[in-house]
Amino acid sequence: MTPAAVEAPVREEARETPEMKRPPARHIQRFDAATRRLHVVIMVTFLLLAATGLPILFSEAPWGRALAMLFGGFQGAGFVHRVAGATLLGAVAWHVANVFWRAFVRGEKGLFWGPTSMVPQAKDFVDFWQQMKWFFNLGPAPKFEQFTYWEKFDYWAVLWGTAIMGAAGLILWFPVAAAAILPGWMFNVALFVHGAEAALAIGFIFVVHFFNGHLRPEKFPMDLVIFTGSLSEDELRHERAAQYERLTRTGELDGMVVQPPAEDARRRSLMYGAAGLTIGLGLVVLILYAVVR
């Protein structure tokens, strides 16, 4: 993302904003404020959950106790873990309720099916196949819609993971209450599933999501769109050609133009994102150390 790359389309659009000497590129809204907030809540709680849960998952690792002591020992870490877990559960529950409210109360279209839906479409499988061919230089990169197949996987992984982890976590949090309806061996199942899902989620988020969303060469060191909410028109055209063509065709694109993020907001996003990436990758290093040792 060199300055030249950003400025290239700027000159094209210069006539639209004559009052500015070097007007920025047209920016297109991708994530609304609620979605960005949801990502921040998930990010912060996920990092806290990982940092306070890993000492238990890797209790035999030499760093286990030190990491727990960072939160005031196992009780302090347990408290942070429960607060973060409850917050994450609440945030995801709010999101699901919000989607249903948008669909059934506000009558919003395209949430459950179609090009703007998170539900996998036939196009996603075609995209995946094309992407494979592109990886091997056997064809052009696919023209993605609003959400790519890996983004949909991320989305459903969070929903699925939160539901499973949340259910197991609540059983472990309130075992006596759970025993009113569940047999005690469900605590064994809950602990095992909580740990296995945690390993899956931590590995997936801190390696796969970090790479797909941020660290891959096209985005390195990170894609700020989830923090700032918008991306340049040029970026949208290249990365999500199908969405761009659809929006242009329907004329929706002009209605999605927003002010580019202020330099200040960009810098703050970069800082928060970098902190998240650093903590996540730091935890990955600890896990690798514990596994390899």
Binding site: F136, R216, E218
Partner: protein
């Protein structure tokens, strides 16, 4: 001069008196090399007499046969009773210095010094706390290998129990005492958990956590499965708020689950779990505190869940790992062409 002769006399008397005083104050010269310390026979001349006693009537008799049969038989009396080495006058005073075992056994001595028994004696002046001789004996001292020794494995509980009477009865009722009495050399007794010389308070975190490892010297697969539980993981991290072995199985009076008196017998499980988990019921105690997802016979359900997650995790990481690698490779090759796109 009137005073002449008197002065001479006075001077003479003063001189004589001071000489006499000096002679009276003078201590015996340090024993020259030719003053031999008393031999064991010299001591036994008095102490062999079974009626020999201190002024207060307590016996000071030593049975030469017992001493000759003891581990310390090659030693001289004065090797331990060091303040008698230079003795010239008999009988010697009633009060002698305490035998310093640590002068030879310095390792054990320093451990004992920092132990709860040592601290009780030296810091608190609690003179009922045991010193070396209270456990090992004195003139009849025997190595632990000797079955007659007070510190032989089979005899240690009785030795400790001579003070800790409340505990010895509990221990004797437990399965480990039964095994010990049956001659099982691995059966744990007092010092396996508490150690012999550096005994610590039993309510310290460090000590409580160390006991689990001791249980694991025999019950290794049981401790291994315990480590897979929340209890086992939290204690492994060094925190003691959750249950370790003794919290469910008892400490001194451990009984097998088949015994109705056992803390983990069917009839008492709810009570045992409810000690921490207030409100635990019959459903609650169906929890398995020693699961092993890799052992189908022990935990069939967990075994299947383990298989499922192994495939899921390997599949997910394998698929997306490869996906990311291929993408990275393609993007790097593509770098020049697409470098300016985003």
């Amino acid at each position: 001069m009137r005073m002449g002769p008197g002065l001479w006399l006075g001077g003479f008397l003063l001189l004589g008196m001071s000489a006499g005083l000096e002679a009276g104050q003078a201590k015996p010269e340090p024993a020259p090399a030719d003053v031999k310390p008393p031999a064991n026979e010299d001591c036994l001349a008095c102490h062999e007499d079974t009626s020999s006693a201190r002024a207060d009537g307590t016996s000071v008799a030593v049975n030469p046969k017992v001493f000759a049969a003891s581990l310390h038989a090659p030693l001289a009396c004065v090797d331990c009773h060091k303040d008698l080495e230079k003795l010239e006058e008999y009988p010697h005073p009633d009060k002698l210095a305490t035998a310093e075992c640590a002068s030879c056994h310095d390792g054990e001595g320093s451990k004992y010094h920092d132990s709860i028994h040592g601290k009780a004696r030296t810091n608190a002046g609690l003179n009922v706390a045991p010193a070396c001789g209270d456990c090992h004996g004195s003139h009849d001292i025997q190595p632990p290998k000797d079955p007659t020794s007070r510190v032989a494995r089979a005899n240690v509980p009785a030795t400790c129990g001579s003070c800790h009477e409340g505990i010895i009865h509990k221990y004797d009722a437990g399965i480990h005492a039964v095994a010990l009495k049956a001659g099982n050399p691995k059966a744990p007794m007092c010092i396996d958990c508490h150690t012999a010389h550096d005994i610590q308070r039993a309510d310290t975190d460090a000590w409580r956590l160390s006991v689990t490892a001791e249980c694991g010297t025999c019950h290794d697969d049981v401790v291994d499965s315990f480590r897979r539980t929340f209890h086992g993981k939290v204690t492994e991290l060094g925190f003691t708020r959750v249950a370790a072995c003794a919290d469910c199985h008892g400490a001194h009076d451990i009984l097998p689950a088949s015994n109705p008196g056992s803390m983990i017998s069917k009839g008492r499980l709810v009570e045992t779990c409810a000690r921490c988990h207030a409100g635990a019921n019959e459903q609650f105690v169906k929890y398995d505190p020693h699961p092993n997802p890799r052992n189908y016979a022990r935990s069939p359900l967990l075994w299947w869940i383990n298989q499922f997650y192994t495939v899921l995790i390997a599949g997910c990481f394998g698929f997306f790992g490869l996906h990311s690698l291929l993408w990275f490779r393609r993007s790097r090759r593509n770098g020049a062409a697409q470098g300016g796109q985003s």
